[in-house]
C-alpha cells in the first residue's frame, strides 16, 4: 500500500515539474528532465533492448541451454544468428579511431535491407492504394452531391500532385493555376488535421489533471 502512495506522490511531483516548463526553464524542470532522460535511457537499455529484443531474438536462440528452461532449452542453437551478432559487434569498432571504418559493412547491410524493403512495401502498401483511392466516378446519375464530392476528390488529388513538381516553376496559365489550387487543398487539409487533433490533445490534458485532482489530491 505504501509503495502505491509513494508512486502517486512521485508521479505528482514529476508531473508538476514538467508542467513548470510552460512558465520557463527552472531547476525543477531541469531536475525532472535529467531524471527522465536518465531513467528512460536506462529502461530502454535494460528492459527493451536487452530483455525484449536481444535476449529472445539472439541470446536465447544461440545459447538455449543458458537462457531457456524446460523444453525450450533443448532446442538446437540457430547458428545463422552469428552473422547479425558479428555485424552488431562490428559497430562497436566505432570506439577505435583506426578500425572505425570496419563498421561501414554493418551500416551498408542495414541500409541495403531497409531500402530494399522500403521500395517494395511503400509501393505496395501506400503508393498503389493511394492512387486507387483517387479514382472515383465524377458523375453519378441522379446523385449530384456525391458527384460533386467525387469531383473534388479527383481534382484535389491531381492539383496537389502538380504542386509537388520540381522541374518547373509554379507559373503559366494551366500549371500555375493547378499548383495554386493544389496549395488551397493542402491548406484545407492542414487545417482539418490540426483541428481534428485538438480533441485528442485536450483529452490527454484532462487525463493528466484527473491524475492530479483525483488520484493525488482526491478533490474530484
Amino acid at each position: 500500500m505504501a509503495t502505491e502512495i509513494l508512486c502517486v506522490w512521485i508521479g505528482a511531483f514529476i508531473t508538476l515539474c514538467c508542467f513548470s516548463f510552460l512558465y520557463k526553464d527552472n531547476p525543477f524542470y531541469r531536475f525532472a528532465e535529467s531524471l527522465f532522460v536518465g531513467v528512460s535511457a536506462g529502461y530502454y537499455l535494460s528492459v527493451v533492448y536487452f530483455h525484449q529484443v536481444l535476449k529472445p531474438n539472439l541470446l536465447a536462440k544461440l545459447f538455449p541451454t543458458f537462457f531457456n528452461v524446460g523444453e525450450a532449452a533443448k532446442v538446437a542453437p540457430d547458428y545463422w544468428l552469428i552473422i547479425p551478432g558479428f555485424l552488431g559487434c562490428l559497430m562497436l569498432l566505432r570506439f577505435s579511431q583506426k578500425l572505425a571504418w570496419v563498421s561501414r559493412f554493418t551500416v551498408a547491410f542495414v541500409m541495403g535491407v531497409s531500402t530494399g524493403l522500403t521500395i517494395v512495401t511503400s509501393a505496395q502498401q501506400y503508393l498503389i492504394p493511394q492512387i486507387a483511392k483517387a479514382i472515383k466516378p465524377i458523375f453519378i446519375y441522379g446523385d449530384i452531391g456525391q458527384s460533386i464530392s467525387n469531383t473534388v476528390l479527383v481534382v484535389g488529388s491531381i492539383a496537389c500532385l502538380f504542386y509537388f513538381f520540381f522541374s518547373t516553376e509554379h507559373r503559366g496559365p494551366v500549371y500555375g493555376n493547378l499548383a495554386k489550387i493544389g496549395i488551397w487543398f493542402l491548406m484545407i487539409s492542414f487545417g482539418a488535421s490540426f483541428g481534428a487533433t485538438v480533441m485528442g490533445r485536450i483529452s490527454l490534458l484532462i487525463g493528466r489533471f484527473a491524475f492530479l485532482l483525483h488520484d493525488w489530491l482526491h478533490i474530484i
Binding site: 510552460l22 480533441m199 483529452s203 490534458l205 489533471f209 484527473a210 485532482l213 474530484i220
Partner: protein, 303 residues
C-alpha cells in the same frame, strides 16, 4: 483598438493559463453544457427505439482497454436503452479482451437500469414487458472472444451455435431462451434485428460491412474519435444506420437515455477548452486586423 494591439504581443503564458483553467474548472465544478444529439447518434437511437420488443441485437466489442475510455460510456448507454426497451443484447468480440469490458459495461448498465426503473415505470416510459433485473441467458448473453475476424463473422451469418457452442463462462448456448427462434431453425444472423460494432481498429464494423451481402442486416458503429472520418463514408453511403463517434457521441447518447456518465462529464472540459482555443484564434485575428489598420494609417500620415 489599442487592446487588440496589445493582444498581438500577448505572452503565450496567458494562453496556457486559460487553457489550464478551461480544463480544471469544469472538472472541479462539474457543470454541464447543453448537448444536442447529432444526426449520426440519432440514427442509432431511433433504430433501437423503433425495434419491436424482444428483438435481439448483436453487439460486437472490438476494442481493448486503451479505447475503453472513449467507447465504454457509449456502450453502457446503449445497454441501458436496450434494457428499457426490452431488447436483448447478444455480445460477441473480435478482440481478445473485449468480453471483460463488455461485462463491465453490462454490469454498470444493469445497475443504472435498476436505479431508474421505478421512476421510469411511474412515468410510463418503459415498454410493457420491461424486465427489472435482466438475466444472463434470457435477456442478454456474452459469448466471448473468437479469433478469425471476418471469417468468424461470416460463420455467424448462418449459425451462431457453431462458433459459439458455449458462452464466455462455459454455459452451453443450445438451451438458452435468448437463442429460441420462432421457426425452430438454427439461430443465425437473420434473427438479429441490428448489428452494432464498437470498433477501435481493424476487425470491427468493417468485417460486418464486408459480409453484408450475406446477412443483410442494418448496422451501426461506435468508434474512437480517430476513426470518425473513416466511418463517415459508410454513413454517407447508408451502409450504417448511425454512428456513435468518440466521447462526444457517447455524451449525446447518454443525454438521450438521460444518464450522467463519463461521456457527459468529459464534454464540459473538452468543449470549454475548444471554445477557449477558438476565442484565441478570433482574438489573434482581431489583433492582426488592428495592426494592419494602424500600419495603413501611419502610412497615410507619412504621405
Amino acid at each position: 483598438m489599442d487592446i487588440f494591439l496589445k493582444l498581438k504581443n500577448l505572452d503565450r503564458r496567458w494562453v496556457y493559463v486559460f487553457v489550464a483553467l478551461s480544463v480544471i474548472l469544469p472538472m472541479v465544478f462539474k457543470f454541464e453544457l447543453p448537448i444536442y444529439p447529432g444526426k449520426a447518434v440519432m440514427g442509432v437511437y431511433n433504430t433501437i427505439d423503433t425495434l419491436p420488443e424482444g428483438s435481439r441485437v448483436f453487439l460486437s466489442f472490438d476494442f481493448d482497454p486503451a479505447a475503453e475510455s472513449e467507447l465504454g460510456p457509449g456502450a453502457t448507454a446503449i445497454f441501458v436503452h436496450m434494457f428499457r426497451r426490452n431488447i436483448k443484447p447478444i455480445v460477441g468480440c473480435n478482440w481478445p479482451v473485449g468480453n471483460e469490458i463488455a461485462e463491465k459495461c453490462l454490469t454498470e448498465a444493469k445497475k443504472i437500469h435498476l436505479d431508474t426503473y421505478d421512476s421510469y415505470l411511474n412515468n410510463n416510459k418503459l415498454v410493457k414487458n420491461c424486465i427489472r433485473e435482466p438475466k444472463n441467458g434470457t435477456d442478454y448473453v456474452i459469448l466471448g472472444y473468437k479469433p478469425g475476424g471476418i471469417i468468424h463473422v461470416k460463420n455467424l451469418c448462418t449459425d451462431f451455435m457453431g462458433p459459439y457452442p458455449q458462452d464466455k463462462d462455459g454455459t452451453p448456448t443450445v438451451n438458452m431462451p435468448i437463442f429460441k427462434t420462432a421457426s425452430g431453425n438454427r439461430f443465425s444472423m437473420n434473427d438479429i434485428a441490428l448489428i452494432i460494432s464498437y470498433t477501435a481498429g481493424t476487425n470491427g464494423i468493417e468485417s460486418f460491412i464486408s459480409v453484408e451481402g450475406d446477412h443483410k442486416r442494418p448496422m451501426a458503429a461506435g468508434c474512437t474519435s480517430v476513426n470518425i472520418p473513416r466511418f463517415t463514408t459508410y454513413l454517407q453511403t447508408g451502409q450504417l444506420v448511425g454512428m456513435i463517434g468518440g466521447l462526444p457521441g457517447a455524451a449525446e447518447y447518454e443525454k438521450l437515455v438521460d444518464h450522467k456518465g463519463e461521456g457527459r462529464a468529459g464534454m464540459a472540459p473538452q468543449s470549454i477548452a475548444h471554445l477557449i482555443i477558438m476565442i484565441f484564434i478570433i482574438l489573434g485575428n482581431l489583433a492582426f486586423i488592428a495592426e494592419n489598420r494602424k500600419v495603413s494609417k501611419s502610412k497615410l500620415k507619412k504621405e
